[in-house]
């Protein structure tokens, strides 16, 4: 539960902040000049803050929409990402955010209208070609929906955009109410990330159990929303092949593979400086002492193991899906 809320002075009377004050009431409210005053100082402990994260309300003033890294795609040529939220309420031990940010607090950027204008401008640069906008890169798109109203706003925004302006929401949560309240649209993909249940129980603290998430995906699919499945990153455990096979069996027994929009596979790979910070936070974590190797400033599973896992999962997935729906995110 959020106990402390930091708010940029200039946003104190912003309608979304006023609504938040009504909702959260008597928490510790602290005003700051800029969100970075709280979020960016070096002397912070991500691991400790994860126990009791605060909410920092700020305004994103520049670089609102960024080009996605090469390889981060689900079939489009033009790919962007944007982040209304930094950090995530879940505590996935493999998550690169632990190495990227000094603070585990949630930063919520409330200037949605500016994001929308930046999205429209990015779309306009490509002469009517399809453009994909990914919303779950630096956070979970839906996990804090009751506080942020992010999906409520952007589902309406993309309803008014051309049909080839795509939005991908990416989540491990079950907060799907805003989607169920609306008519489905083909240009919004609701993507859900999965790891095998054994992996999830061990390394994804706070994430709802597989069964509940799968029910949420089923509901969305029945409602007509395009849903995506994300296996990113693939996590190595000694019996990874058997665990992923069982996971795919469970998922595709419950879902209609013909109506799955896309499936992507990603590898566990992160900059060495992030890895160093993460191992400093959790020195006894076996995940960080597995079959990893450092090459060219990046830490990843050994090349042959990585390829074996990607190819192995790809083959298993091809039992359920045509190859054109399957994407490999390797960047």
């Amino acid at each position: 539960m959020i106990e402390t809320v930091y708010v940029e002075e200039a946003l104190w009377c912003h309608p979304r902040v006023a609504a938040l004050r009504d909702r959260l009431g008597g928490r510790r409210w602290v005003r700051c000049r800029h969100y970075g005053e709280v979020f960016n100082p070096r002397s912070q402990d991500f691991r400790l803050q994860k126990r009791r994260p605060a909410l920092i309300v700020g305004e994103k003033r520049s670089r609102l929409v960024l080009e996605a890294p090469a390889g981060y795609a689900i079939g489009g040529r033009h790919n962007y990402y944007f982040s209304h939220l930094l950090n995530c309420p879940y505590d996935c031990r493999y998550c690169f955010l632990q190495g990227m940010f000094r603070s585990a607090h949630f930063v919520w950027f409330v200037n949605y209208e500016d994001f929308r204008r930046a999205i429209e401008a990015a779309y306009a640069k490509h002469g009517g070609e399809a453009v994909y906008f990914f919303a779950g890169y630096d956070s979970d798109s839906l996990a804090l929906e009751p506080l942020t109203g992010f999906a409520e706003f952007f589902l309406d925004s993309f309803a008014n955009m051309p049909e080839n302006a795509f939005l991908e929401l990416r989540s491990k949560s079950t907060n799907i109410r805003p989607l169920l309240r609306r008519q489905p649209r083909d240009n919004v993909v609701c993507a859900f990330s999965f790891t095998p249940p054994e992996v999830s129980r061990r390394w994804e603290a706070g994430v709802p159990p597989l069964e509940r998430r799968l029910q949420a995906v089923q509901k969305l699919q029945r409602h007509g929303w395009p849903v995506g499945l994300r296996f990113d990153p693939l996590i190595h455990v000694p019996d990874w092949r058997a665990q992923y096979r069982r996971l795919f069996e469970v998922l595709f027994a419950a879902l209609d593979p013909g109506k799955v929009h896309s499936v992507s596979i990603g590898v566990f790979r992160l900059p060495a400086r992030y890895y160093d910070r993460m191992t400093a936070l959790y020195p006894a974590e076996p995940l960080f002492h597995g079959p990893l190797t450092a090459t060219g400033g990046m830490v990843a599973y050994r090349r042959e193991l990585e390829q074996e896992m990607v190819e192995g999962c790809r083959r298993m997935l091809l039992d359920y899906l045509p190859p054109e729906k399957l994407f490999s995110c390797q960047f």
């Binding site: 700051c32 100082p41 400790l48 803050q49 126990r51 009791r52 076996p286 002492h289």
Partner: protein, 231 residues
């Protein structure tokens, strides 16, 4: 004869009397850090406030240095044992309070220095209101006022101590003793610790004993650990 009065107990808690002003507060932090390397830092003292009654105890959730405008935000990863408030550190004693906040003369200097020795979760400021718009500061009441802060201070120390214990990831060895026995440099000691942590994470049941490790010397200890980890 030292620059500061310093008291300590067997539990590893130290009290240093900083004196007045942020420069003295910062110097005291440096002085103590050089001698005791505490893991947690608390600045305790008096402060003025426009409205709060004299004797009210508050923790600070934001500390602003009035001179520089710089702000510090102690991070609450434990429940605060009493209410929290804004605090402004000023350079000269003031009887007027332009802001609805605690006003003191040390906290910003203390935080500026302490953040070099600990993260913001371990740095806190406890203040007792000593004066307000209706009551002037009385030096002879300071002892009595500080006594009022003790329950909050003790609770804060206990909670931070528990927090410290809960995040310790101890190796079942005295790393420093093994390093001293083998004659390792600081860099080699860090390497040894990393290798032992890796071993502990991967196969805790097969960890060597401290006695086994102490039988190895500077030339053989690290290669032996690497070889065993490869196996």
């Amino acid at each position: 004869m030292t620059a500061f009065h310093l008291y300590g107990n067997a539990a590893g808690t130290f009290l240093i009397v900083t004196g007045v002003g942020k420069v003295r507060a910062a110097a005291a932090v440096g002085f103590l850090a050089a001698r005791a390397a505490p893991s947690c830092w608390i600045n305790v003292g008096t402060a003025g406030h426009p409205d709060l009654p004299v004797g009210t105890v508050r923790l600070a959730h934001k500390i602003v240095d009035r001179d520089s405008g710089r702000a510090f935000y102690p991070q609450w990863v434990i429940a605060a044992p009493t209410a929290t408030d804004d605090l402004v550190t000023v350079s000269r004693p003031a009887s007027e309070f332009p802001e609805t906040a605690l006003h003191d003369m040390e906290a910003a200097g203390f935080c500026e220095a302490a953040r070099h020795f600990a993260t913001l979760e371990w740095i806190h400021v406890v203040k007792v209101v000593s004066d307000n718009r209706g009551t002037a500061f009385q030096r002879d009441r300071v002892g009595e006022l500080m006594a009022a802060s003790l329950p909050v201070l003790e609770r804060l120390l206990a909670d931070l101590g528990e927090l410290r214990e809960s995040v310790r990831d101890p190796l079942p060895f005295d790393v420093e003793r093994i390093a001293a026995t083998a004659g390792l440099t600081r860099a080699q000691t860090r390497q040894m610790e990393r290798l032992l942590r890796r071993w502990q994470a991967l196969s805790p049941d097969t960890l060597p004993t401290e006695a086994e490790l102490c039988r190895l010397d500077r030339a053989t200890l690290l290669p032996w650990l690497r070889r065993r980890l490869r196996d």
